[in-house]
Structure formats: C-alpha cells, structure tokens
Subunit: 383 residues, 2 copies
Amino acid sequence: MTVTTDNASNTTSGSTFEVVYEINGDPTEARSRAESLAVEQSHEFPRAYAPAKADRSLGRVVSVEQAGESRSLAIVSYPEDLTAYEIPQLLVVLLGNASLLPGIRLVDVRVSSEFAHRIAGGPKLGVEGIRRVLGVPKRPLLATALKPVGLDTADIAQEAYDSAFGGVDVIKDDQGLGNQVWSPFEERVPAVARAIADANEKIGRHSVYLPTFNPVTGDWKRHVDLAVSAGAGGFLVVPGTLGLDSLRYVRDNTPDDFIIYAHPAFLGGWTAGADHGIAPGLLFGHLLRWFGADSVIFPSFGGRFTLSEEVCRSIAAQAKDDFAGFKGALPSPGGGMTVERVPELVDFYGLDTMFLIGGALHATGNLVEGAQRFREAAEAYAD
Amino acid sequence: MTVTTDNASNTTSGSTFEVVYEINGDPTEARSRAESLAVEQSHEFPRAYAPAKADRSLGRVVSVEQAGESRSLAIVSYPEDLTAYEIPQLLVVLLGNASLLPGIRLVDVRVSSEFAHRIAGGPKLGVEGIRRVLGVPKRPLLATALKPVGLDTADIAQEAYDSAFGGVDVIKDDQGLGNQVWSPFEERVPAVARAIADANEKIGRHSVYLPTFNPVTGDWKRHVDLAVSAGAGGFLVVPGTLGLDSLRYVRDNTPDDFIIYAHPAFLGGWTAGADHGIAPGLLFGHLLRWFGADSVIFPSFGGRFTLSEEVCRSIAAQAKDDFAGFKGALPSPGGGMTVERVPELVDFYGLDTMFLIGGALHATGNLVEGAQRFREAAEAYAD
C-alpha cells in the first residue's frame, strides 16, 4: 500500500520533553509503575509485540526519586512529535489514560520555548499587556462579576454601569451567565458593553467588559464575532466545560488587546485529590497560561474553597514565572474576598494580582459605593 | 435602557430538574452545605442582596438524608432555564464551582425526557442500532484498537485489515493516534477505511473503522468531513480533552448510521476520588450517553485501572437503563482484557456489551489469528 502526504508539518523533530508525575509507592514500586506509565501514555501496547520502528514514539523513564513516605517523583520523557503539536493530543499524552490509573498525579511539564510555542502562544497580553490596556501601571487590578443570573439584561447593564462608574477595572459576566432566556448572550453583550462605555465616558476611565465564553460548539465563531463587534474587552473563558483548547481558539481569533480571563468552573475534578489529577500550580499557572490565558481565576484560601495558602502561593508564583518563555499571567484569586481583606491579600499575592470580588461589593446596598471602596483600597498602592 | 430580543427560544419553561449530591457531613451540617451549594450553583450571590425577580433562577434544596457515616445525600432542584439548554452551561450548573468545593460529589441527575432532549438527543443508534449496522443480532460485540502510535500509515492499515479479516466488528484508532507526523489524520483515515473495506469484501463481513476524533477546534468540521467521505463507520470521540459537548457535535453532524464511541482518556479527574467528582455510573452511563455516545468505553475491573466490580456493574447498568427516554448505549469495558476472559466477562456484563481488546490480540505474533480467536469466543453466544 502506498501512501503520500502533503502535510506541511510532516517533519520529525526528534526532540523530547519531560513530564513529572507523583506516584504512590516507594522508589522500587514507583519505578515499575513509572515504566508502565511511560508505555501507557505513548504506545499503550506491550513492548514485546511492538515493531522496532515504533520506538520513535515511545515514552521513557528518566528517573525515579523518593518524595516523602510512600510517594515518588518520576520523570518521563516523551517525543515531541507524539503530541502532534495540538492541545487535545498533548493532554492525552500528559494524563489521558493515566488519569484513570490509581495514585498518579501530574505535577510538572518541562518544555522548550520552541516546542511550547508550536502548540500554543501563551498570553498575548499577560501582566504588562493587561496593565497597558487598562492604563494601570502599578496598583493591583480589580475585577468583579455581574450577577446573579436571572436578572434582565437592563438590570445587568445597570450593574455593569455602576461597577465601572465606581472604578472596577474588569467587569465580567458571572460564569453562570450564559445564554439564558432572561438575558440571552446576543442581547446582553452589546447592552452591557454600551453601559460600560457610557460609564467610562462619564468618569474618564477605561473599564472593560468580559462576557462569558461558554457556547455550544457551533456558536464559537458567532460569539467571538458578537463580542468583538459589540466592543467587549475580552472573554471570560470556561475551559473546564469547553476543553482546554478553547483558550487557544479565543486567543488566536480575537484582537491583540482582547483579554483572555480563564474561569476555574468544572476544573475541580483535576485539583481536588491529593494523589491524582493535576497539581493546581501547574494547571492554573502553567497550562492555562500556555494555552492563552492572560489572567487565571483560582479559588483563594480563606474563603469557601479547598486550596491551602501554600497551594495558592504556588499558583500565583507559577502564573508569573518564566515558563517556556511565555509572558506572565495575572493571578486572580476569587471566592470569599472582601474589600477589607485587600491589604492582607496584597501582602500575600503582591501587586501583580487581579482581585476578584463579586457579591461583597453589594453589601451596603449601593454598588457604586462598594466599587468605589474597592478602588480606594487598591489606589493605596498606586504610587 | 430598553432592550429587545428576537431569540426564538425566548420563552420560560418554569420547570425544574433535580440533581443529587453526596456531601460530607451529618444531615445538619450537610443541610447547611446543601443550602450554600444550591446558591453557589445558581446565583453565586448572597441571598440578602439578590433582587426578588432573580428568584426565578435560584437552586433550592429539596431534601437532605443521611447516607452512611459522615455522608449525606442532598437533592437540589434547579430551574431548567438555568441551563440555557446547552451542555456547557448545564455542566456549570451541575458541578461548575461545586467541583472546587471540598467533599461534594455529583451522583445523579433526574430530568424529564423533554428537557433532556432539548439539550442533546442521546444515542442515534444505541445498542439496537449498533447491532443493526454491524449485522450482529445477539452475540457480544468486539472492538480493538490500532496501535502503537509511531507506526506508518501502511502498517496501521495492515493491522486494520488483519483485525477485520479475523472478525473484529469495530476497529478503532488508539486514542493516542491523532495527527502525528508518522501517520497524519488525513492520510491514515482513507487508507485504513479502504483496508477494512478490502477485508470486508474478501471475507464477506461488515467490520467498521472508527478513527479518533480529537482535533483542535478549527479542524472539527474538516475531520468530520474527511471521515465521512473516507467511509469511516463512526468516530472514537475523546470528550475529556474536547469538552463533553463534542459528543453532541459529532452526533448532530454525521450520518444516521455513524457510531459514536466515547473514550475515557482525560476523564479520570472526575472519577478518581471517593468524595468529589462524578459517580462513574452517572458520567459514563448517563451523561456521555445523553450527549450522544452510542457506546462508552470505561476501564474495567481486573485490569490495571481503579474501578471496582461494583462500579463497573453500575456503569454497565446505567448505560442501558431507561434514563430520560434515551436509547441504551453499549457498555464497552477495556483495559487488561484477554480473549480467555470473554466467558467470565459475558457472565458479568451480559451479551449487550462491546468488549475492547487491544494488545492481547497480538500475543501470538499473528493478529489475524488473535482476532479469529476473539471472534470464536464471541460466536459461542451467537444463538
């Protein structure tokens, strides 16, 4: 059988990248499990029956080291070509079947800048770009969510106006605000964008609106076009429901100053377990950023969510570190935040943070006032 | 501000559906957590600040009952309209933020047939349809995977030919076979489909080829068109990486006799924990079926994966039960399966099962022979 191809990327790289897993078991047991894992995530086929030419696609164990009682760290190297340079296939390689194996956790992905960029471009804006677009050189950035779902578009637009008038930089839909009958996407987005533009004009600032991006498959392009033409400043993307490639899609199909803000809804399956899933710092700080997020929301400590201070610190650090030559993303802690906690949270997270406060801005019954107090708390760090 | 809409679905249903969560805590503690959960998954906004009109979108606790030591079952009802009748938004309602809360597990979704069908149509073929398409009225159905990744297209096509010639009904790509340089999708799919057609013609049977559906976003339609025009019999869809709406997309955009086979790769975050995530019977048996899967692969007991006999039994039962008026889906246990285990597995899973055996068919070094033995084991149940 003769086959030909004109696939443009049809050249082998020969390079590999390294993936680190935490594996239950002492080093002897973990080495045996790591050897199985390296095969599972590449060939998923007994070595004894595999033709020699397939060696070019095989994962290999680089090292296994003890990392605490009954826990080991294994480094596995995979051929870059195995990922097909596509996010969905990359995820199959990193943790596809391994997510179904007991006691295996994905904790680090070590990639060259060239390889990483071939798959996705990272943040177009990142920390500096968001600061430039919003005109905020130094102080912490402020975000709020339009809620609750169930309001009419006019109510939501009024809320957006008040939030912008009070001084919140980024005004996003709640992730629960989708395309409901009470305020359909194509009605809400232009109305809210207009309300924020009105407030901006009135008060001489530059707040932006980020509608939720969580459509059914056939609507992706239509929602992008609607948001861009309505003057939205970016999207609140929900990669947990849409698949992680959604970040890359939105990144690659929107204007250069369009902010990609990642929401953690329906990602908790990956971060809830201590001995499976994905280390939160890797997921929120590296993977979502790699795929295009300019800022990543994560559930902060001290509220109703599960992550510890230590984990939140690692997310914030990994969002901004020098991973694969990408721009840093703004960590955006949310959940149980209040204006009163801003100083404590600035101490903890630093100035390059986007604080997300939702319901608490409404506490006085006057949203403009709540937003103004939030802005004042941040202005303390303006110089 | 005046807004108008011509959205065709702009009518409220007023109906609700029920969702069951397992929650850590005794009934008193769990009731308090359930009340918070119902708000989290709808308003995510303090009740005290929410305008009365938003009550129409609020989740409400129906009941809380003890279900074992320190564990309770809570039933929460949500307005159907809250889902916007779209899978991504439905997932946000079911478990979006709740996936990030400690000790909450999604265990059941109780929906009317009308509501369920408005979101997705379930299997087009289901058990009976797959039997009709494959011409197999009674015996268990047989599936295998083309592997390992790294082979050339000609090798893979030969493997497909041998599998079909030996009598395997469904010959799918390994989920690791994506669009790699060694065998790009658009080269592999027509070549493998042709090889299987050749074998079918030679031996007078009807095996089908299911290539992997795991493309980047911009390639979804192109991959569908390529597979359909090449004569593929269906798709192996990877909803874990693509998002669960991918099943609906493929279901709705392929011919009526196109088999949608769901692979569990990158879904393990949801099923690995005992007190978070999604009950495997619900995820594999109900949700993937609801969204369009005709057959669902799950990691069987007795192999290298984690699920117990009891959990596997519940998946197989829930795949075929009368959920929301949908056709039953074929449960497809995989992982560590061998031809020798077929009688044991038929006893356990029943005849309406698609057994997935990969590497073990190659054990004798002769794939045709391995496939023939697999077929013979199933033919014992033909009458």
